[in-house]
Symmetry: C2
Subunit: 95 residues, 2 copies
């Protein structure tokens, strides 16, 4: 199992469109084989920080995800809506 | 439900002791009321990055956790073993 944590800075005026598009992306993604979790979180102190926390059975299904219609259509738009990519980490579980 | 993501830089020579102590901490923590997940992850590209990803029913049970015997005994030692706290985010789920 792998976890992908993608931390974004999204300004207030982009928040609604960003979350609307993410909902659409999540709806399709959660149907994919190997997708365990695909969620969006907001930082408790800074509401501009929106972090995707994804859980996948393995790296291979995550790669397949990156070639799906919904990913290639929506993720670039999300990229334009955010002010900055703060951090992106792909993780393997240890404990 | 809240998620706490704590990203640490831990040098190679401290890795074994850090993970051993985290296992002990996790074993006790997972028994706590309201603890949904309490896990340690390693970055796929930089093995020195060890990130705690915790899931709690709410902020209140997380506060209680911080006063437990195992937290107050072990977490300060983990703090000394790490080279740096890279990031710490408490998150609320949106999607």
């Amino acid at each position: 199992m792998v976890k992908l944590v993608v931390k974004n800075l999204v300004e207030k005026d982009k928040f609604e469109e960003y979350t609307r598009l993410f909902k659409e992306l999540a709806e399709e993604t959660r149907k994919e084989i190997g997708c365990i979790k695909y969620e969006l979180y907001q930082d408790d102190e800074d509401s501009r920080i929106l972090t995707m926390i994804e859980e996948w059975e393995n790296k291979e299904v995550l790669e397949i995800h990156k070639n799906t219609e919904h990913f290639t259509r929506i993720v670039p738009i999300l990229g334009q809506l955010r002010t900055k990519l703060i951090d992106r980490n792909l993780y393997n579980k240890i404990v």
